[in-house]
Symmetry: C2
Subunit: 157 residues, 2 copies
């Protein structure tokens, strides 16, 4: 299988990775969630080359993660704001950050501490079942649709 | 900045992306969380080339995501099991899957449905504050350490 076929798998992880699997992409999201909207600030914040930043902002806009908004005319300049689809990636960035805090630390505490908007306390968000509120873990089970990747793969054997 | 410098940023997202930013890596994790442990099954499940699978399993083992366990002698064969550090990536894969379900669907329902181990109901896990239990959202605030990426970047201006 070629990389370009991955997005065609009947699997939401594969589909998501085909959009986000680019290694710079998550840094663009980090910047966006920190409030960055303008080209020069992405350039400074992500630290990739000018060509890479232009190409990724374009691609993420085509993929519907960012929306372009004109903020200046003559010359026209655009800023890039997260769409609803893009903003919905916050949990992905937060779980990634939490894992990095725990497993890739430098022994000097977290680089960034999160403060809950509801209770105002320092928070390390956890993933819970939306029915019962219990933390999800190893005992989670998956049921696959007939044409899901994992099933079609098994039937090839 | 070169890609290889990204992991050196004082930022847990950057550090995590430097380990996981490879576009195949998340598919290896998907397979591992589905119970795959052996080389031939990763080859079948991930769909990358034999060389890529060998290289990534090696790298993920060096990064402490997988642990090698001998399951056969003469000839010696190893399986790859998630370490504690690797298993801690479950929330990243689940939030990715959930986003893919919601935003990259094919209109025919989720490829995989998750069933909660605690209540036995279908679940779409949500991220909540570990203090007050409220869902985290836009009102989350970050406080940065003195040497954190976002602060050193600001001070360059």
């Amino acid at each position: 299988m070629k990389w370009n076929d991955v997005g065609g798998q009947v699997c939401s992880v594969a589909r998501a990775v085909s959009v986000l699997g680019d290694r710079w992409t998550l840094l663009f999201l980090r910047e966006a969630f920190s409030g960055t909207t303008r080209f020069e600030d992405f350039l400074d914040g992500v630290g990739a080359s000018r060509a890479t930043v232009a190409e990724r902002l374009d691609r993420l806009t085509r993929d519907g993660i960012f929306e372009q908004h004109e903020y200046q005319t003559n010359p026209v300049r655009y800023e890039y704001r997260l769409s609803e689809k893009g903003a919905a990636l916050l949990p992905v960035v937060l779980t990634l950050q939490s894992w990095g805090d725990r497993w890739l630390g430098d022994g000097r505490g977290r680089p960034a501490t999160l403060v809950c908007g509801s209770c105002g306390r320092e928070t390390d968000p956890i993933l819970v079942c939306d029915s019962c509120g219990e933390a999800v873990g190893d005992d989670l089970r998956a049921e696959y649709r007939e044409d899901a990747w994992v099933r079609t793969r098994q039937s090839r054997r």
